[in-house]
Structures are given as C-alpha cells and as structure tokens.
C-alpha cells in the first residue's frame, strides 16, 4: 500500500519533470547545450543505477561496467548503421546482447568474492575492449561512425524504465534476497537462498541497462572508439555509485547529477577534474566509507524529518 503510493507519486513527479523540461526546450529557454547535458545526465544515471544494483544492492564489486556499455554501444551502432534497422530495435538489441555478455561474464566470475571479483570483471571489460579494437568490421582503433539519434525524449523514456524496473526489483522478493547476499553471503546461503542465482540475476539486469545506456551513448556522439570504454570509464561510473552511498539509489542519482554538472564545467581541464574526483573519492572513503548517504534513500530523510516533528516513526 505504502510502496504503491510512493510509486505513483514517483510516476507523477517524473511526468511533470519531463513535461516542464520539454516545454522549456520547445519555448527555447533551454538550448541544445542544455539538452545535451540532460541527455548525458540521463545516460550517466542509467549507468549508475544499473551498477548500483550490482554493487549497492547485491554487494558484488564489479569494476567492468564500461565493458557492457561498450557492448551496447557497438551492437546498437551495428544495428542502425550496418543493418539499417530503426533506433528502438537497436536499443533493445543492445540491451539483450549486453545481458548475454553479462551472463557469460557473470556465471564464471561470480564464484569469486570481493577483490578477486573486481579484478576478474576488470579483466573481462579489458578483453571486450581489446576484442572491439581488433575487429575491422567496427572500425578497429579508428572507431565507428554513428548518426545522432538520441533525443531528450528517448533518453528520458529509457531512464524512467530503468529506474522503475530497478526500484521494483529491489523491493521485490528477489531484491530482498539480493540484499541478504550483500549483508552476509554465507548466512543467506545457509538460509536456503540460491546466492549464485541472485548474483547472476542482478548482474544480468545491470548489464541489460548498461547496454541500453550504451545504445543511447553511441547515438549521442558521432563516433565511438574502443578507447572511450577503458578502465577509466568504469571508474567514472563507480564514483557515481560510491559517492552517493553504497546501497542508496537516490544517492547514486543525486551524485550523478552533481558530478555530471561539475564535469561539464571542467570539460576543458580534464586533469583538474580527475584530481577533484580522486580527492573526493579518497576523502569520502576515509571519513564516510559507506558513501555520503549510506543505505539511506531520500524518502527516508523525509520520514526522519517528519518523525522529529512528532509523527510516528514506526509506520513502515
């Protein structure tokens, strides 16, 4: 009851946000530069939210998210540019193939834990990048030409679906199983939860949305190159999730919005941007190892605020 109310208010709020921005775009208050930032922000939020499902909810430390982004980007580019199919088909194909890649990577490597999993996923992402680098069909190191098809509307629709699916997944029985894997894998295994199944499931869903984000990413630029999807891209996505709070969806979204704005303004000073990023990362980890918001959501803060004004705190 409570959850469904929250869900419908989220749908209403996002519809309003979309309409307002669309009107502003049509009137001309927001120009191409702004709409570009909005698209870029949506793509980053999709990446952050999909990685949040793997790291924040399931507790599996994956360092290879850029690999799925690369799969999505290249597959969608092949579908639109080489096969001449429409853009929605490309988005779907990107997601599906990225899921398959996620399964191929996830099934063997999710037997590993912690640091080893991080390194294995990193290795897989590098292999994906090297594979694209060596296939002449997709242009090798020179990259592949892609037409600009991503619009604010398509980015918004994909973002909306991503958030709805991941929020509902997290609140479902499966999501709770994933959280129990995060809290204590051995104990949840002993409670009869099929930990491998849930880890692979979360990994595959994360890969699907990263692939969809990849399709939007590819069609937002005019050229994609394997060097766009290196180790640093994975770190970029990781920073969004970690900064917001490991386990907080709204935290990841807020952090992504803030960092996307910051990096847009620091576009011409890449070193300064990375120095700020890394200092923020170190300081946050030293003083708040669970990220800025921990596992709290924004709605939890509202509840706390209402609770401190005399209301009941136990109405969950």
């Amino acid at each position: 009851m409570k959850k469904s109310k929250q869900f419908w208010s989220f749908v209403a709020a996002s519809l309003i946000a979309y309409t307002v921005i669309q009107v502003l775009l049509n009137v001309g208050v927001l120009n191409d530069f702004h709409s570009n930032i909005l698209i870029f922000m949506s793509i980053n939020i999709m990446l952050a939210v999909s990685l949040h499902l793997v790291i924040g909810v399931t507790g599996q430390f994956s360092l290879g998210h850029a690999g799925f982004l690369a799969v999505g980007a290249y597959i969608s580019a092949i579908v639109t540019m080489k096969l001449n199919l429409p853009f929605p088909v490309a988005i779907l194909a990107a997601g599906v193939i990225a899921t398959i890649a996620g399964l191929i990577i996830g099934i063997p490597s999710l037997r590993l834990r912690g640091d080893y999993l991080a390194i294995a996923t990193l290795g897989f992402a590098e292999i994906i990048r090297i594979v694209f680098l060596n296939i002449d069909y997709v242009g090798g190191a020179a990259g592949m030409q892609v037409t600009h098809l991503t619009t604010w509307t398509s980015a918004f629709i994909c973002l909306f679906i991503t958030i709805v699916v991941i929020v509902n997944f997290t609140n479902s029985r499966h999501g709770r199983a994933c959280i129990s894997v995060r809290e204590n894998e051995i104990a949840s295994d002993a409670m009869g939860i099929n930990t491998t199944y849930y880890k692979v499931l979360a990994f595959a869903i994360g890969a699907f949305f990263a692939g969809v984000a990849g399709a939007l990413y590819a069609h937002n630029f005019y050229i994609i190159q394997p060097s766009n999807f290196g180790f640093l891209k994975s770190i970029d996505i990781l920073i969004y999730v970690v900064l917001g709070g490991l386990g907080s969806l709204s935290g990841a979204i807020v952090a992504t919005i803030l960092l996307t704005i910051v990096s847009t303004f620091l576009q011409n000073y890449p070193e300064t941007r990375m120095i700020i990023y890394s200092l923020v990362l170190i300081v946050v980890m030293l003083y708040r190892p669970k990220g800025l918001m921990g596992t709290m959501e924004i709605t939890d803060y509202f509840k706390l605020w209402r609770g401190s004004k005399g209301g009941s705190q136990h109405d969950k």
Binding site: I55, F61, P108, S109, R111, L112, G114, D115, Y116, A118, I119, A120, L122, G123, F124, E126, I127, I130, V131, L133, N134, I186, A187, A190, F231, I235, L238, V242, L246, E271, T272, M274, I275, Y277, S278, L279, L281, I282, M285, L286, P289, K290
Partner: protein
C-alpha cells in the same frame, strides 16, 4: 634460434613484471589490500630515474638507488595517509581508496609536468652478445642482473632478518603478532617501503628497456603485475617471481606468433582462467572460508 631469442626477451620483460608483482604480493599478504597505486609508484620511479639521469647527470646505479629510496618514502607516505585509517574498514572501501590514490598520482603528475611522453636517456652503450645463435643485448643482461640481485636481497631480508620475520608473523596473524610484541604499524610501513622500492627499480629498468615513459605508463604494467601476483598465488613471494616470468614469456610468444594487438588480452585471459580454475594461484593452497 628464433624461439630462444623470444624466450630471452620474454624473461627480460617478465623480470620487470616480477619486480612490480613482488610489491603487490607483499602488501596483499600483509594487509589484504590490492594496492592499485602500486603501478603509479612504478611510474614515479621511472620519472625519478629519468630526471636524475637526464637532468642531474647521475649514473645508472646512483639513479636506481635514488629512485628506489624516493619510491620507498612515497609508498610509506601513501600508506600512512590513505590506507592506515582503513585497516578495519571493508575491503571495498580500501580498494576504492587505492583506486582514488592511483588516479590522484596519475593526474597530479600530468598536472605538474604535462602528459607528453619523455625519451629515456641511454645510460650504457647497446652491445649485443651472441648466445647459442640468439642475440642478447647488454640491456637485457642489465635488467636480468638487477632483478636477480634485488630478488636475492629480498629473499635474504624476508628470511634472515628481524624485520622479515616480523613481516611473516604479521601476515600470518596480525593480532597474535601484536601480542608477541611486534610493532604492526612499523612492519606494515616496512612492507610498503620494500615493495615500493622494488617498483621504483622496475620503473627505472622499464625506462631503459623501452626508452619511452609517460604519466599513464603505470596502469597496464600495474595490472599485469597484479595478474602475475595472482598467477603465482597472491601473498607468496616466489610465486610472484614465477608468475611475472611466465606472464612475460607468454606475452612475448603471443606477439611473436603475430597477434601483437592481442598481447594485452593474453594477460587477462590468463588471469580469468587462473581465477576460475585455481583461485589460490599456482603455488597456493586452498583455504576454506569460515562463517
């Protein structure tokens, strides 16, 4: 004698990986942290070597020693500032901090001197010797002799000295070592100092061998050295040496067979195979995790 030639090249490359891998393995063995900043210490070592040879006109051996000493200090500073607070934190927090430190060093160096690569000065004339039909350059001999000397010294330090004994005790059980009167903090610092000094030495000989260095050079050799450490069994010193050599030889043979673009993938394929089939590494024993 083509294959002998490739074997010699592979061993030269592998001994560089082995030197970096030793630092990874020692740090992992003692505080269970993948020190992502280790590749950056390697890069700093290469640059200190470059400036001391090209800028101040030092010879090879003084430059090597200077670079090792500076890297040891930098390694200890990083440990004291960034990692010490995280001893009791989760492994993920420590790993993310290490990634942060690594990005900070890379971009700090780019900020200070720019991203342009630098050509390493020639410290010794390049002569080639004939060895059963294969050509060995004087540089390969230099690399091998430096690495072997350092590894022998390391074995001596770890097995015969007091600090080595303390390191082994702390890596076995830090709590018990503390109860026996071992200063755990100093032991960890010493581990970082030794590991970083070896990475610094690797940086200098890498520069001499490849003649080109740049601020982002630490990423790939750093990752590969980690692969080498995992290959040999992380935390095991002879394992890191063997892993480094195997990796170097495999990579050289992959290039020699005409797949040079796939060379970097070979290391990661090895990593994944090892992690899947024998996660404890070639020299490791399996341990079961307890609740």
């Amino acid at each position: 004698m083509e294959w002998l030639q490739q074997l010699i090249n592979g061993i030269s490359l592998g001994s560089i990986y082995a030197l970096i891998a030793l630092g990874y393995t020692m740090v992992y063995g003692i505080i269970k942290l993948i020190n992502f900043a280790h590749g950056e210490i390697f890069m700093i070592g290469a640059f200190i070597g470059y400036y001391s040879i090209a800028g101040w006109g030092l010879g090879f051996i003084p430059a090597l020693l200077l670079s090792m000493a500076s890297c040891a200090i930098i390694g200890v500073l990083i440990e004291r500032i960034a990692y010490k607070r995280l001893r009791t934190a989760t492994r993920i927090a420590a790993l993310i901090t290490a990634i942060g430190v690594s990005l900070l060093i890379q971009n700090g160096v780019i900020y200070m001197r720019g991203a342009q690569p630098e050509a390493y000065p020639e410290v010794l004339r390049n002569k080639s010797f004939d060895f059963f039909g294969a050509q060995i350059s004087s540089q390969s001999i230099l690399i091998l002799s430096v690495s072997i000397t350092l590894m022998i010294i390391l074995q001596f330090v770890v097995h015969k000295t007091k600090i080595g004994k303390a390191m082994r005790a702390v890596s076995y059980d830090a709590e018990a070592a503390k109860l026996m009167g071992i200063n755990v903090d100093n032991t960890i610092s010493a581990t970082f100092a030794i590991g970083s000094a070896l990475a610094g030495a690797a940086g200098v000989i890498f520069g001499i061998y490849y003649t080109k260095i740049d601020p982002l050079m630490g990423i790939i050799p750093g990752l590969k050295a980690f692969v080498a450490a995992v290959l040999g069994g992380i935390g095991i010193i002879p394992g890191a040496m063997a892993g480094g050599l195997v990796l170097g030889v495999v990579e050289t043979f992959v290039s020699a067979l005409g797949f040079s673009l796939w060379r970097d993938a070979a290391a990661f394929v090895i990593l994944i195979l090892i992690l899947i089939f024998k996660p404890s590494g070639l020299f490791g024993k399996n341990t079961r995790e307890k609740v």
